[in-house]
Amino acid sequence: MADSSALDDETVVVVPTARRDAGITLTELLASFYLWLLLWLVVWAAVPALVLGYQPVLLTSGSMGPTISPGDLILLGDPPDDELLSQGAVITFPDPAVPGGLITHRIDGVREDGRYRTRGDANGAPDSTPVEPSEVVGVGRLLVPLIGLPLLWLRSDVLSFALFVGGTGAAAFVAGAANRAGVRRREAVAAREAAERDVPTAGDDA
């Protein structure tokens, strides 16, 4: 049977505040949720790259909008060796206008000469230069939204980057404080119950 004296009113009032003892506040909950969402998105980006060897490419332009936005991270798989890709596949290939640059667009069709006709979803017309199948760097397999946005901000929008870092830091502080408070609360409860076990009750005296 449980010792009923462990939950009496005198035990409860030793807790610093009822609010803190009650557990997590809504602000702490939102901060924790935000941090975990951020972490899970990083996991979604990192695990396929590490396990399956997918190549991550950060999208920096809006030519594939509205479905794919700047800041999204696309994970590329190897193109097939012996067959053509289908219409609709998103591929990354060298930018003919910028040496060393890459373009990520969608296959709009296959020409009679076997080359791909490509187009950005947001563009009204296909790209002017067809793509040889052998030029395809990778085929889009997975898309992790928003995760690369801080990198874009770091390049072009320092204020947004600072707000992101500050907001994430504040969320980490709030969530960390809540976590530490929870640990302290549990330790206090454990210590209190341990002390109660050592103190004889009135019933024992009688």
Binding site: L7, S86, L143
Partner: protein
């Protein structure tokens, strides 16, 4: 690291939302662009594509009374699964004035290459033939094609379809200059029992998150509402927040056994 129930719920809610975001947006990597999306029927593992890339088969064809026009289209099923059946249906929106004067014939044969020309087409089977209304009525019931039994070609299973349209010799002059359209639709239809659990789960998640983030946000909002109510209850009755968690039950049980001994 020890988690309270509330913190664990936040972890799970964030995981669910991240899965929804990644899966939902990743489906756009294999979908066709918005303008031609209707030409593709996609499931979790099957995609059907036409060889004309969404261009109308009879675009620019002029028919005189007694003349016949024919066009071919190659339909290819690709993906990690071979569909048991691909269903061909009619989605008609023809001008009623045209209807009595058109004859239509649909044949299926081995796959051709790209383009609309029927050079080299060899009919294996006439699927439907006759007055336009009869053909469309027959197609309304759906004509099944089993790609699994078709010759396998690199990149998937395919077949070509030839559509012949004839304008009758005695078509009245009032029809001259009129234009009309009718649609043929190919859709995948495969045995649900043959799907793996992963296919079914993926299809469910895709369907759930296909239209917007709202369903996912609704789950998160409900979770936060639940946790908020729990928080208020804990504030009102601090004893509730002291209720023993699972791992704290163990020393409690041990203590009881000590008392018994």
């Amino acid at each position: 690291m020890r988690f309270g129930a509330v913190q664990l719920s936040a972890v799970l809610a964030a995981l669910v939302l991240s899965i929804g975001m990644v899966v939902r947006i990743s489906t756009t990597l294999t979908a066709v662009s918005p303008e031609t999306r209707s030409d593709t029927a996609a499931s979790a593992a099957i995609q059907i594509r036409d060889g004309l890339n969404g261009v109308a088969m009879f675009d620019g064809v002029d028919l005189a009374p007694g003349a016949t026009a024919e066009r071919c289209i190659t339909i290819r099923a690709t993906g990690s699964r071979t569909p048991e059946q691909i269903r061909m249906e009619a989605a008609s929106s023809i001008d009623p004035a045209f209807e009595p004067w058109l004859r239509v014939q649909v044949d299926r044969g081995p796959p051709l290459g790209q383009g609309r020309d029927c050079d080299g087409f060899a009919s294996d089977e006439t699927l439907a033939a006759g007055p336009y209304r009869d053909v469309m009525h027959e197609l309304d019931a759906g004509l099944d094609w089993a790609p699994a039994t078709s010759p396998e070609i690199p990149g998937g299973h395919a077949a070509s379809f030839r559509v012949r349209v004839t304008l009758l010799e005695d078509t009245p002059n009032e029809i001259q200059g009129a234009r009309t359209t009718f649609d043929l639709v190919w859709a995948s239809d495969f045995d649900q029992a043959g799907q793996s659990f992963l296919d079914r789960l993926l299809a469910l998640v895709v369907r759930f998150t296909e239209d917007s983030f709202l369903p996912m946000l609704a789950i998160v909002a409900l979770a936060i509402l639940f946790l908020g109510i729990q928080d208020r209850l804990d504030v009102a009755t601090p004893r509730l927040s002291k209720a023993a968690l699972f791992e704290e039950i163990v020393p409690f049980e041990d203590r009881t056994s000590d008392d018994d001994t």
